[in-house]
């Protein structure tokens, strides 16, 4: 067992830290949506220019040819430094890399990596959330391509994206998972309309996409017709992938802020110390768990359904940290409490997005623990 960086990894980490000192934006993320979006694009372009994108991709596709360890170090250091949130580019690019044709890779990957073209993800629908495979957006074959029709929800930066990785139904035959396909849809195609969705904390980066008889070329199909479910699964696993250490580092940074704000009381009040200690222990548990998962990725263990453990653990730690902030920042006259309150409210989304906690438990029960005899086991 070894939890320490190798000399090469330590060198990589050091090089990244040095780069971050001069390149990390000094100003905070703007609150206004359009400004925030430009801010994030600028950050993405800075990362690209610095050679920090697509770390584990092969070099011929613009990657750095590194491994999962460097990717994890990257996420950890950015989380710890309080870097701006990343646009959903690298994991969507990863999907194009693994499922796209040579032509699709050549057409889309260079602009995606350089953040010249912004992508978004169109999976969930108003009536297909946890039951994603029940989605009803249709793709009908026509002479020179497909006609898309339906409605998507919870698309981050939908209003600003140039391209969308879209999941649609190409067949009603067989099991509902089998009739899905993935499409690369330009967001400026006639028939695409986007409307913003304001979240409970005032955040407005999510959008709803209305797709009314949108015509796309045959080349817009990713993989074969019917590959949609498999592509969706791999998108979700890439999305989570190496990010776990990044989340842990981000939570640890938030905990540091909380410590500063609780201040003096933490030195004298035992009940405050105990509440802080509870969170500190959870952060340590999450960190060690993430290192264990990283060790497995380095050993080329393909992540399977057991990664639902990681999501449940991560959500629990985040929500416990935010609940602690509610307990400890109890000065209602303070602007700080309002800020933590916004974070706390948004934290409730953690157990809903990316597969709700109930879905994660179903996955663990049926696919890891082998409970539910009537289910087809993997």
């Amino acid at each position: 067992m070894n939890l320490r960086d190798t000399p090469e990894q330590a060198q990589f980490r050091e090089r990244l830290r040095t780069w971050l000192i001069t390149n990390l934006p000094a100003e905070p993320e703007p609150g206004h949506l359009a400004e925030r979006f430009s801010f994030m694009v600028a950050w993405q372009q800075a990362l690209y220019a610095g050679g920090w994108t697509a770390l584990s991709w092969p070099k011929e596709y613009g990657g750095q040819g590194l491994g999962p360890a460097e990717e994890a170090i990257f996420n950890e250091e950015l989380g710890a430094a309080g870097a701006p949130t990343s646009l959903p580019l690298s994991y969507l690019g990863r999907v194009l890399l693994s499922h796209g044709t040579e032509e699709q890779r050549a057409a889309y990957l260079p602009d995606l990596l350089a953040a010249r073209v912004i992508w978004c993800q169109g999976f969930s629908e108003p009536d297909a959330g946890s039951d994603l495979a029940a989605l009803t957006t249709r793709a009908t074959p026509v002479a020179d391509g497909w006609v898309l029709s339906g409605r998507k929800l919870w698309t981050s930066f939908g209003a600003f994206a140039d391209m969308c990785l879209l999941l649609a139904r190409t067949s009603k035959e067989g099991r509902k998972h089998e009739g899905l396909s993935a499409f690369l849809m330009p967001m400026d195609a006639p028939g695409v309309t986007v409307r913003g969705v304001v979240m409970a904390n005032g955040d407005d980066e999510f959008a709803e996409i209305f797709i009314d008889d949108v015509h796309v070329q045959s080349s817009a199909l990713l993989g074969a017709a019917g590959d949609g479910w498999e592509i969706a699964q791999s998108t979700i696993s890439f999305e989570r992938g190496a990010l776990d250490l990044g989340y842990g580092a981000k939570f640890a940074r938030m905990f540091g802020e909380l410590l500063d704000e609780v201040g003096e009381r933490a030195l004298h009040d035992v009940s405050v110390q105990r509440r802080l200690g509870e969170v500190a222990a959870l952060l340590e548990v999450l960190h060690m768990h993430s290192l264990r998962r990283l060790g497995l990725r380095i050993a080329e263990h393909t992540p399977g359904p057991e990664s639902s453990v990681d999501k449940l653990l991560m959500t629990m730690v985040e929500q416990n940290l935010l609940a602690a902030a509610m307990d400890l920042c109890d000065d209602h006259a303070s602007e700080l409490r309002t800020r933590w309150f916004d974070r706390y409210v948004y934290g409730r989304a953690g157990s809903i997005y990316g597969g709700s906690s109930q879905i994660q438990r179903n996955i663990l029960a049926s696919r890891v623990l082998g409970l539910g005899a009537r289910k087809v086991r993997k």
Partner: protein, 358 residues
Amino acid sequence: MHTGRDRISPDGEAMPFAFEEHERLLEEAARHYASSVYGHAFLRAALDDKDGRVRAESWSRLAGLGWTGILVSERLGGGGGSVVDACILAEALAGSMAPVPFVATAMGAASVLTACDDDEGLIALAAGRPMCLTLDSRLIWPSTQPNLAWDWLPDAEIIQLGPENAVRRTQAVPTQLRGPDPLHPLAVIDDLLPNDRTSAQSEAVRRALVVVRAGLAASASGLARTALAEAVSYARVREQYGRPIAEFQAVQHICADMLVDAEATRSIAFGAAWAAENEGIDEAERVAAAATAWCGPAAIRVVESSIQVLGGIGVTWENDAHLRLRHAQLLGRLLGGAADAQKELGRRRASAAEKASS
């Protein structure tokens, strides 16, 4: 190296560890040995054995395997193993509820004797001599006035820290308590000298405490792992309303939560074991305190849930589930348990933040 399984195996592992090859082999051998020796009949014999002979014999057999001296250096007849190795054994033994004082003796007493350079004691310990650490009645160590021997075996020597971190080994005639966990008994010793707390603990003694905490965490992981496996295999066969209870989502979600607790326990337990030897003392203490804060409560949750899935049968004397709960409760309280560890962590973080800002 890892085995790449993505389904739970009969011994209840969903997620392997990126262990080295020798660690994986040790784990396999330890689990095999523990599960084949400490079955239901053996545990019942140990329960009925008032003078502790069954447990004492069991300890001698572990000495024969070289497990009692796993942390003793090879020069003194020990195995020269790492804390991770010792935790692999602790996890396997607790998983089978082995009625032996592995953490108290092979990890605790061994690290204290090592910290105090007591070569003679270490030679005896590796050869299978029973030895006990002393605690106060709240199960805290080191303390001013100890009066309990933790995990008592007949004829055990009592290990105490004397002045200047010198170790004191004495023979005592204790009174065994009924206590919460009959397989890991506590015994009252009235005539102990006070421990010395006037001089600051040496780093070696602090590290010994870290090793004990890692061992307790690994034991909690073993208990959680087998409690989960027990619940899962029962849920698959127990039928109500004409189908296995494993098909009910209410039961499935209990088991899924047990899995999260068990896997997280394993991650922090071995993280603490690794840090105990590979990190500076402050960092090692921090991870060990986090392990103590998490693992006891998590193991208790998992064992309680396992009893819930077993239903009425799980609360009978005849079923071994209560033995697991008893051990989990003992582990969860030792060295101040989660409550003290949380306070310690909060205090550490608060004073570190204070130092950073001033």
